[in-house]
């Protein structure tokens, strides 16, 4: 499965496994499950297991413009999580959604980039360790398989490679929605683009840069 490996980060955060799911069928029930898990208390039965099963970032793939865009959001979220009091949200996974959003409103980040009942294409991210801490003997590829199984247990859909020219991200990104969300339609760089291809390059560069500089946004 696909992953970003950040050699400069501590071991338990150095790997961000991710997968692109198409034709997602259970968005609504998955969302309800995630909400339910967040309200569980430590006293509840099998609470650790349930929390681990949905300890993932679910990102609406339509608003992701490139691999670099995704990588930048994950990396900035990891930088924040490695700084004391650096995070604005409660977990590194929600921090990714926060970094993707153009404003500092957390609820809005979830609404724009998170799981919604209508989601059909999702990028699912899992930071760091393999599923069970009990398995330090696993080889990296076995860990990957373990994470992939965990994701497949949560999401009902088809995994496709992110970079696949036909089925991958390129065919999913909703450029009009991205331009609207980031209010780019009136910007000279977008208005003066000489072709749709150039416009996409320009929008991707702006959106990726906005994610990177989010922490110092006005």
């Amino acid at each position: 499965m696909d992953a970003f490996i950040f050699p400069h980060l501590s071991t338990e955060k150095s790997t961000a496994y991710f997968a692109l799911f198409r034709n997602v069928e259970n968005a609504s029930s998955l969302r309800q499950r995630v909400v339910k898990v967040s309200t569980l208390t430590d006293a509840d039965e099998r609470v650790e297991e349930e929390r681990d099963a949905v300890n993932l970032a679910f990102i609406d793939a339509r608003l992701i413009t490139s691999r670099t865009h995704l990588q930048t959001a994950v990396h900035q979220a990891l930088l924040a999580s490695s700084t004391p009091n650096g995070m604005r949200t409660r977990s590194v996974h929600s921090e990714i959604l926060f970094y993707l959003n153009p404003t500092n409103n957390i609820t809005e980040s979830f609404k724009n980039f998170g799981l919604s009942d209508k989601s059909t294409s999702l990028i699912v991210v899992r930071i760091g360790k393999p599923v069970a801490p009990a398995a330090p003997h696993l080889r990296p590829d076995q860990k990957e398989m373990q994470v992939q199984e965990l994701m497949k247990d949560a999401v009902i859909g088809t995994i496709v490679p992110l970079d696949d020219p036909e089925q991958g991200l390129e065919s999913i990104t909703d450029w009009a929605a991205v331009r609207k969300l980031f209010k780019l339609n009136t910007e000279p760089a977008v208005k003066n683009a000489s072709s749709p291809e150039e416009e996409r390059v320009v929008v991707d560069r702006i959106v990726t840069s906005a994610v990177a500089m989010k922490s110092v946004m006005q």
């Binding site: 670099t68 990396h75 700084t83 000489s194 291809e197 906005a210 989010k214």
Partner: protein, 257 residues
């Protein structure tokens, strides 16, 4: 534990060092494109609290200007990493050459450059499919876009402009030139609508040309021509008149400080 972004620097190659910052070539993940890291290191000569505030404000300022430029269609590197509390700004690595080295007189290594990379055979303008005249047009057009967006660079020199190498340039569809002029180092930039600030910006570049490249007058004149073409007659007249004033008195208007 040392900060994560400092750890990233320790894995990277230092390219250059100035008074304000060190420049590194880094890689965020093993299979991604290289990133240029600008590290505004701790200044021991300043009070710690002041140093932290200044460093953070400067990283933030530079990042904000870059984003403003990207939205205005000015060619600048995209932003990839920001860790303001450590003074780190990571931007796209641009494969190419700075304009100074492509013009006559600009060959000597600059102060601070680590181990002047013997780039093998000297890269020439032909390699970028440009003549000096065409290059000056690109510069003028880029500066016009910058100033139209009310951004003042603050340190325009031929060292702070790069050409993307044609082999690393793919995006554009209008292919009259196989390269792109990219403005870099917005460390002294600010936002201003004042004609004075824009005129001084041009004046600083004129002086940089004169001190670096022999016979620079015709070169700078073509920069201004291209700049003029991208402005309205009114905008140009205001900047032109003010530039003439600045030439007479120098860049400091008030004569204090």
């Amino acid at each position: 534990m040392a900060s994560v972004s400092l750890q990233l620097i320790s894995f990277s190659e230092q390219i250059s060092q100035g008074a304000e910052a060190r420049i590194f070539k880094a890689q965020v993940t093993s299979d991604s494109k290289p990133v240029l890291l600008k590290h505004r290191f701790k200044k021991k000569y300043r009070h710690e609290a002041l140093d932290a505030t200044l460093t953070k404000a400067r990283v933030a300022g530079e990042a904000r200007t870059l984003l403003k430029c990207l939205k205005a269609g000015v060619h600048v590197p995209q932003i990839l990493v920001v860790d303001a509390s450590e003074g780190i700004l990571g931007i796209e690595w641009i494969e190419g050459q700075c304009v100074r080295k492509l013009l006559p007189g600009g060959e000597e290594p600059e102060e601070g450059e680590v181990d002047p990379p013997s780039t093998g055979p000297q890269q020439s303008l032909d390699e970028y499919g440009l003549t000096i005249g065409k290059l000056m047009e690109l510069i003028g057009a880029e500066l016009a876009k910058l100033h139209k967006a009310d951004i003042v660079h603050g340190d325009l020199t031929t060292s702070n402009m790069m050409l993307r190498h044609p082999s690393a340039f793919t995006s554009s569809t209008k292919q009259d030139v196989p390269t792109e002029l990219v403005l870099i180092d917005f460390g002294l930039s600010f936002v201003s609508t004042l004609v004075e600030d824009k005129a001084v910006d041009l004046y600083v570049l004129e002086r940089a040309f004169a001190s670096t490249h022999p016979d620079s007058e015709p070169m700078f004149a073509s920069v201004l021509q291209a700049y003029e073409r991208a402005l309205t007659a009114r905008e140009w007249k205001a900047v032109k008149n003010r530039l003439d004033d600045v030439r007479l008195r120098g860049r400091k208007r008030s004569m204090v400080g």
